[in-house]
Subunit: 729 residues, 2 copies
């Protein structure tokens, strides 16, 4: 069993060991055991390197020990370059020597099936017995570029010189993708401080590494590659801590498509939830979702420049009209706004530019002008920096003749530094179109210069989203006392109502909703036609009548529902009709009777639902009712429990939100009360503690003031086991 | 005035001149006039190079002439390296010397405003007088890499060695973007045969170059960069010719965003239509829209491999699970289908792979396996090639150890060649991850190998779309006799009904629709309440009543419409109500009376409309009625005139198409009759010959059999000038 309470500090020996033993060290340069020793040497690892091999006395100039126990001093970390069959015994040896952590590359474990998983479990149990922290198996290892700990056989690290910029950590569930990302980052001026390939995550999981980096002062951005979140509750809590610290988590999550998800499931054995839920989770937690590794690199570089964008309003400055238009397209596709310039700003720019340049947005300096007259870059900059409407400036090209000591470059940098506007310079990465001079000087001064193929515009848009989330979080933190009160008092009654493993009738479901102060339509159960008439009179005409049976959840399909009944005769006829339809639809159904309900006036029909996701547990859904949810799939999700901000964002996210606000002369829907309903459902789910499998409040009819559920369905969980499973998440 | 009938052959002297004069040739190596002479020399141009400069006798080893008239032989092409002020006189000189064509780089013309446009017009007039074809001004020139004609000052061409692959032509409305694309293509194994920067298109337009390439046997793909189509009717006809010849046109069109469009308008002075109409136009014509220059390069390479994909069903073969998932995501996002493998195929693959590999889709060979056992690439390939469900195979990696003469490589190539399945190999473009050996051998044998950063998957998806369009076009061509019969007989009556420059009343609009056999609701105009009752009785209750006035087009807004009137009294009351509402809404309105109409039974409400686009002329719109068009903007467009296929695609394209096919127990809508209506509207627009500005048939109520317009509005064009302008398109 995993010990959830182990402190992140126990990972220190993995990142900062004072000594590293290489098990299975070798003299053969083609063997893993040699490559690993050499990597530590070439990496200038700042601790002791201890090759272990009973057949050798020296490897690569280092003293070689026969066994771990022969090593005189303590050993912090062991790197396993041994075959799978030797791993278990070696862990025992490590335990006896009091080794604190180990990296295991070998594959053939849980990723191959039941027998491999059993082997893996034995290794973990042994390690836990001795308190050893593990990375792997089936991984490419761990690298710390700050102390030279190259704990990997991959040549990628040694083949790339270290950049100065080393404040971004990276953790990957795919070794190959991880290495690729490491290389691409290194080639673009960014060396990860930590690189961790978590492999099968038998002990150290993705979230554990994130936690370590959150507490590590040398890490300013946490990046990673994710196939499936194993512990979303922990990740959610960590994301909150990271947001409080303004330390972004940027993750590339694959398996967007149904096909991709299938592959992810069979690849790492991790349970991948549907991508839509992941998207909701990322939005909710402020984790930045990168589309590709290029965006990870760009986002990190933009963040490290030190400024957070103040908004979405963006101006492009170009010396190629065509490129300006293209970048404007990219901006708008990413969610940045290309705003029309104010006349005042336009006039200032026009004064400074030749007649054939364009003072619109994009500002087109024209190629000829930019080449012969570098002043053209300065005057528009000044005008734009003075305009309070603008948040971001993107220079799509840069004067090729500017050098580090060019006075105009210094002026350019100075102006940008004094402003709170975000300034981004993008370049072309083509051969023969070399990176312009002066860019290193700019980067040193907090102006990021990023090649176009790293999608800097997409990354900027994500940084804007991140800053919005960060600022909202700051406000929420300040108002922390004003949270929605949890209705814990309802809990004892709730447990009685939640019979396990059944589909509750509309009556029973409504009772539970009412317990949480979610209004439902007035209703009474009739067991005879006469009773139905009495109920109808008491409720008031017109009424609705529906069959009441746990065995007929889909009442419309069974033709066992009648609307808009105007008088006694209607009710008597409907009673007989409904019963016979119900019996015809399902002759074995146990029918409790016929429910007589008030006919609700028209309003905006919405649906509020709950479903249980295999990864995230209970997930709350919101959408417009009827055809909108069926045909347009116009719905939004959030993982429970919800905050008020989550609930508000759910309404904002649907495409048909204009309908909520009132179209075609209809009154706007009571959004505040609707938000309350979502929060109450969230409370209900928490209180049920895994006991609820699904909820459908459909339709929930929302009025200008207030709302009422016209129908409701709750499905409870089957067993206490299921409850515990779900409760654990 | 532009002479539309000039044959594309008149462009021959631009592409294949036997002699080229360089006006303003110079000895100064920093001057355009030297750079241009040198470029022709270094390009090994296969004709005579004739420097012209009165002050020199020799330039770069070539005899220099004082004036054009001093040149003894004929001159096919003149390249103008002179300042803008000398251009007009030089054109006169060219005319006298019977020069056939000229390239003009200079800027400062129509792109700068009215005065520049006037200058430009004078140049064109002079050139037309002498029959000289022109490229430019404000362009970077024209290059033919087949005969060494480097007609540009850009160093890009000379700084890149020529590739063998030279069957793709390129034409650009942006010089800078054009050069960038040329360089990127050349760096990725593709040298354009022709490169044309059309600049201000004063004579030779984008479409003219496309036309030349369609007729050029050395061009297999026509590519380009477009900001605004100047002659969409010509482009549409050319696209049809190109499709008949299976010669794809692949175009990067910028200005997708509203902001981008604004910039495009001010950049080239071309009128950019809304991007949605461009998208419709491209879909309609089979022009492939590339998102970036990378897709132009990839698409061209994929097409040149010689196979057309047979469908969308795609299997990924990877040796990195993570990358496989990521590529699967990209496939599904692009519209390719990652299909689950059939059991039979799975079993065959499983037999050949180690236990820890995955026989799902993506097929994961695993890194270790792929490195130590190259046979692993062959057995799955065989199984997949035998599976008839599969159209495309994508190999995301490739064995690094395969060399040109490796027997397994030869077997791999042989198997792929024998199959009609499309096989694509993608590679990583990172330094330190070199292109694997054997790729040149594969490319020689029709297996495209494309780096991942060129978006080969997006390009493959576009090639699939292209082949679908190509095959549909072949079928349509074969059935060319079966076109929808044009109702030309209606035309004389139509012209009488189209009073110029007015909003026709619903009566008048309906009359026109009926002329084209589009059924409208039965209706009669009442001028008294008594008349209204008589009409209602004759039509049959219930009825609808509406005000009839050209001055009140928005009847609902004026509260001047009453539905579901059940009896005489209702009609009498409604008559009075409607008149008073109408008068209150617009006291000055001329009211013809009240229209009494049949109350149409419920059906699927759709909207069919026509609007006039500034670029494309009349455009036909289709969508679901009411809230769907208002809130979800769920509409599709096609440029008139429509083909039956266009109309059918319009229904397929809307998101709510399921509603047309019947949801929630509703009957499906009569799509065939709906298609007929769209074609009839298209005919009406053609017959009106520019006389119609807008049409709104809203709602058109569609039943299981047949349909009827419940309301209609036609706005006619203001003047005969407007008619001619629109008719010309």
């Amino acid at each position: 069993m995993k010990n959830e309470n182990v402190s992140y500090r126990s990972l220190d020996p993995l990142f900062y060991p004072r000594s590293v033993a290489v098990l299975g060290a070798s003299k053969n340069p083609n063997k893993l055991g040699y490559i690993q020793v050499k990597a530590l040497l070439d990496g200038n690892y700042d601790g002791a390197i201890l090759p272990i091999n009973p057949k050798e006395t020296e490897i690569a100039g280092l003293k070689c020990y026969s066994t771990l126990s022969d090593v005189p001093g303590p050993i912090d970390l062991a790197i396993f370059c041994v075959s799978a069959s030797q791993v278990l015994q070696s862990i025992e040896d490590c335990g006896k020597k009091k080794v604190k952590a180990a990296i295991i590359f070998a594959s053939g474990y849980s990723e191959t099936g039941v027998e491999g998983a059993r082997q893996q479990e034995m290794i973990v149990d042994t390690a836990r017995k001795y308190g050893i922290r593990l990375i792997g198996p089936n991984c490419v290892g761990l690298v710390n570029t700050l102390n030279g700990l190259v704990g990997t056989f991959s040549p990628a690290v040694m083949s790339h010189p270290l950049n100065d910029q080393r404040a971004v950590g990276y953790v990957s569930q795919s070794g190959a993708f991880g290495i690729l990302t490491y290389m691409a980052a290194a080639q673009n001026g960014l060396t990860f401080n930590y690189f961790v390939s978590v492999g099968n995550e038998m002990d150290t999981e993705f979230a554990d590494v994130v936690e370590y980096m959150i507490h590590d002062p040398k890490t300013k951005v946490i990046s990673g590659y994710l196939e499936g979140a194993k512990n979303p509750a922990k990740l959610r809590q960590l994301a909150k801590e990271a947001l409080n610290k303004n330390k972004p988590i940027v993750v590339m999550k694959t398996g967007r498509s149904s096909a991709g998800s299938r592959a992810a499931a069979s690849h790492t054995g991790s349970l991948a939830g549907s991508d839509q839920i992941y998207d909701a989770f990322f939005k909710q937690t402020g984790i930045v979702r990168a589309n590709d590794y290029e965006e990870i690199i760009s986002f990190s570089k933009l963040f490290l420049s030190g400024k957070l964008p103040t908004g979405r309003n963006t101006v492009i400055i170009t010396s190629s009209g065509g490129r300006g238009i293209n970048e404007a397209d990219r901006c708008e596709a990413s969610g940045l706004k290309i705003i029309p310039l104010r006349n005042e700003t336009k006039e200032k720019i026009k004064e400074a530019l030749p007649s054939f340049a364009s003072a619109a947005n994009p500002v087109d300096l024209t190629a000829a002008a930019a080449v012969t007259n570098p002043e053209l870059f300065i005057a528009p900059l000044k005008a734009l920096l003075e305009d309070q409407e603008i948040d971001n400036l993107i220079f799509t090209e840069f004067p090729m003749f500017w050098r580090d000591d060019h006075p105009l470059l210094q002026e350019f940098i100075q102006k940008c530094k004094e402003s709170d506007k975000f300034v981004l310079v993008t370049t072309f990465p083509l051969q023969g179109m070399s990176i312009p001079k002066g860019t290193s000087e700019m980067e040193k001064n907090g102006i990021p210069v990023i090649p176009g193929n790293l999608n800097p515009i997409g990354a900027l848009a994500k940084l804007v989203e991140y800053s919005e989330k960060y600022r909202k979080n700051q406000i929420n933190e300040a108002q922390a006392g004003q949270k929605y009160p949890v209705l814990k008092g309802s809990k004892p009654n709730l447990q009685q109502l939640l019979k396990p493993g059944v589909t509750l009738s509309e009556f029973e479901s409504s009772e539970i909703l009412e317990l949480y102060h979610i209004p439902t339509s007035q209703k009474a159960l009739a067991r005879t036609a006469k009773e139905a008439v009495l109920h109808a009179k008491s409720i008031g005409f017109p009424v609705v009548m529906k069959i009441d049976s746990q065995d007929i959840p889909h009442k419309t399909e069974a033709n066992a529902i009648r609307l808009n009944l105007q008088n006694e005769q209607d009710v008597v006829d409907a009673y007989a009709d409904i019963l016979s339809s119900g019996k015809m639809y399902n002759p074995d159904a146990v029918i409790n009777g016929v429910s007589v309900q008030e006919m609700l006036p028209k309003g905006t029909e919405v649906i509020v639902g709950v479903t249980k996701d295999p990864v995230f547990g209970p997930v709350i859904m919101f959408g417009l009712g009827g055809i909108f949810v069926e045909t347009f799939k116009d719905i939004s999700f959030r993982v429970a429990p919800l905050t008020r901000q989550d609930a508000a964002e759910m309404m904002e996210e649907i495409k048909g939100k204009a309908i909520l606000k009132g179209v075609r002369g209809q009154a706007p829907a009571d959004l505040e009360t609707l938000i309350d309903v979502l929060l109450k459902v969230s409370d209900l789910i928490s209180d049920a503690d895994g006991g609820i499998e699904e909820i459908d409040i459909n339709p929930l009819i929302v009025y200008e003031n207030g709302l009422k559920a016209a129908d409701a369905l709750i499905i409870t969980s089957h067993s206490s086991l299921e409850k515990t499973e779900a409760g654990r998440r």
